[in-house]
């Protein structure tokens, strides 16, 4: 007999689980499906040689202290999912930095630290910076439509200094832009508030803490979660979506399907006429490599107290898929999870290094060449990173790395595109009635954004009776 649900959610990541919770909370029969054996999607975890690693989560952005006034994204998701603030066990960053040749800017979760550093190092731009902060204050956290306005052009108007524009953009682009060199203005505003005005925190225990909370809440509410259950096809007829067919041929029926698989990825699961509405131009081009070095002592014991360092070795920032090499060694991000406040420190001290990478090159290597390239890039990347932090190699006991090839394999995102398609579908709607998008390609950013996306799409499209 064919199983029938009210709603099927494709993908057990942050957005899919959050959507599942909302629907199960109001007594829907919900099925969350994931092709992978582990939940989490782009923010997941894995174990290797006894070490536990997080994927994705450098930081939970959008940090607000408990009881903060105003309806902020973090407080919204906690309310909507009925989770107490304490359950996230958040520890605040010690402080982060963006470093360009000869100048760096520091920030903490107290916005005045960044403002003061800009006033000190870019005195001519501080009035423009204050005006920017005032002007974006009333922007909503949930946007209905994207503008075509460029953040780069907008920022230059306010600040008048291309170096400061690049410095402020680097962290924002690395933590959320699906488009090369720039980001659309409303996304910029969301990123600016979530990274600089609100700031970074880490759940004690890493991404698992949040994922366990979501999964447990979902199950408590009676939701069904099936791992190792990839969706091969989305079934739809003239009136709209009817269900899905799993990789093993099983059919499951539902009147609503929410998909976090991605815009292109989802529509390609539909009939040919729908699949033809997307093209390779809709596939995101930005992917990354990350190296995780396990250290024999915490970075602070080696004199490094920064939580996250965003670096650029040249005057100007280039944020794009590398054209000439498998990675771009000119910029990157270094995250030390030990440099968040925590009652219990992470299991083992860690040094994480992230660089822009070319999906085309990493997927063209055969296995031997792939392993050799990982070794070569690891050495070259740490040479660069050491200039901005410290050289972790003498203190490293174990290294693992992942590439665009790994990302595509485990998340199903075409092109290994961490921030998905450049064409966001903010309404969540697709050409198929009853089939909606949530997650990265719906358009809200970061871990908090992903959960907000699942909540908002579930509320708008699946919760209210037709």
């Amino acid at each position: 007999m064919t199983e029938t649900y009210d709603t099927i959610v494709i993908g057990a990541g942050m957005s899919g689980l959050a959507a599942g919770i909302r629907l199960a909370m109001y007594d829907q029969r919900v099925l969350v499906l994931d092709r992978h054996s582990l939940w989490g999607g782009l923010n997941s975890f894995y174990k290797q040689k006894g070490h536990r690693f997080d994927v994705g989560l450098h930081a939970l952005t959008n940090f607000v202290p408990k009881g903060a006034k105003g309806s902020r994204p973090l407080s919204r998701i906690l309310r909507q999912l009925r989770l107490p603030y304490e359950a996230l066990k958040l520890g605040e960053q010690k402080g982060s930095r963006v470093s360009f040749p000869g100048v760096s800017l520091r920030w903490t979760n107290d916005f005045q630290v960044l403002r003061a550093d800009i006033a000190d190092k870019f005195p001519a731009a501080i009035d423009g910076f204050d005006r920017l902060v005032r002007d974006i204050e009333p922007y909503p956290d949930l946007v209905e439509g994207a503008s075509q306005r460029s953040a780069r052009a907008g920022l230059l108007e306010y600040l008048g200094d291309p170096l400061l524009v690049d410095m402020l953009l680097l962290p924002l682009l690395y933590y959320g832009s699906p488009t090369p060199h720039d980001v659309e203005w409303t996304s910029f505003v969301i990123l600016f508030k979530s990274l600089y005005e609100e700031g970074f925190a880490r759940p004690e225990g890493g991404v698992r803490t949040i994922l366990d909370l979501l999964r447990n809440r979902y199950r408590e509410l009676g939701g069904t979660l099936k791992m190792n259950s990839g969706v091969a096809r989305i079934l739809h007829g003239v009136r709209g979506v009817e269900g899905v067919v799993l990789d093993d041929g099983t059919e499951v029926r539902a009147r609503t399907v929410l998909s976090s698989a991605g815009y292109v990825e989802t529509l390609r699961l539909c009939e040919a006429a729908v699949a033809a509405t997307v093209s390779s131009n809709d596939v995101g081009a930005l992917s990354f490599v990350e190296f995780l070095s396990v250290l024999d002592q915490p970075p602070s014991a080696l004199g490094h107290d920064d939580t996250i360092v965003f670096f650029n070795t040249e005057e100007r920032l280039v944020y794009a898929s590398p054209a000439e090499d498998s990675v771009d060694l000119r910029s990157g991000v270094i995250c030390c999870p030990d440099n968040y406040a925590a009652a219990t420190p992470p299991e083992a001290p860690l040094f994480r290094l992230t660089l822009l990478a070319s999906h085309a090159r990493w997927t063209a290597f055969d296995d031997a060449a792939y392993r050799a390239e990982k070794l070569r890039v690891h050495a070259a990347a740490l040479d660069v990173a050491a200039r901005f932090t410290f050289d972790p190699r003498p203190h490293t006991t174990y290294v693992d790395g992942f590439t665009p090839r790994t990302i595509q394999k485990f998340t199903g995102h075409l092109g290994g595109a961490v921030y998905g398609s450049p064409n966001k579908q903010l309404s969540g709607r697709t050409p198929v009635p009853g089939l909606y998008l949530c997650g990265t390609d719906q358009g809200y950013l970061g871990i908090v954004g992903a959960m907000l996306s699942g909540i908002a799409m579930a509320n708008q499209h699946a919760l209210q009776p037709a």
Binding site: Y26, D27, G67, K69, G70, S71, S75, R76, R79, Q80, R82, P84, I455, A456, N459, L463, Q464
Partner: protein, 90 residues
């Protein structure tokens, strides 16, 4: 349920949705959203909880009737008069 009990029912729902807010100080005649942090997602949840706990349907065009505790009581009383009050946060 009396009109006062309808207000208690709504307050109990708000206590579930927004556990950090102090509901004892609410002025029944004033807009809820002017007194505590409630956004459109929270108002949706008031409607969803009314349906889940009491089987009461509030169509979208009537959401505005839930703006204050007094208006909630006026609007919901005819729908809830025959029902028992259920408090989850008492």
């Amino acid at each position: 349920m009396t009109k006062d009990e309808v207000k208690e029912a709504v307050k109990d729902i708000i206590a579930t949705i927004a556990p950090d807010e102090d509901l004892e100080v609410l002025d029944h005649g004033k807009l809820l959203r002017d007194q505590i942090e409630l956004d459109s997602m929270d108002f949706l949840d008031i409607v969803m909880e009314l349906r889940k706990r009491y089987g009461v349907q509030v169509p979208e065009e009537d959401y505005k009737e839930l703006a204050s505790l007094n208006s909630c009581a006026e609007y919901l009383f005819p729908k809830m008069a025959s029902l028992e009050l259920k408090l989850l946060n008492a």
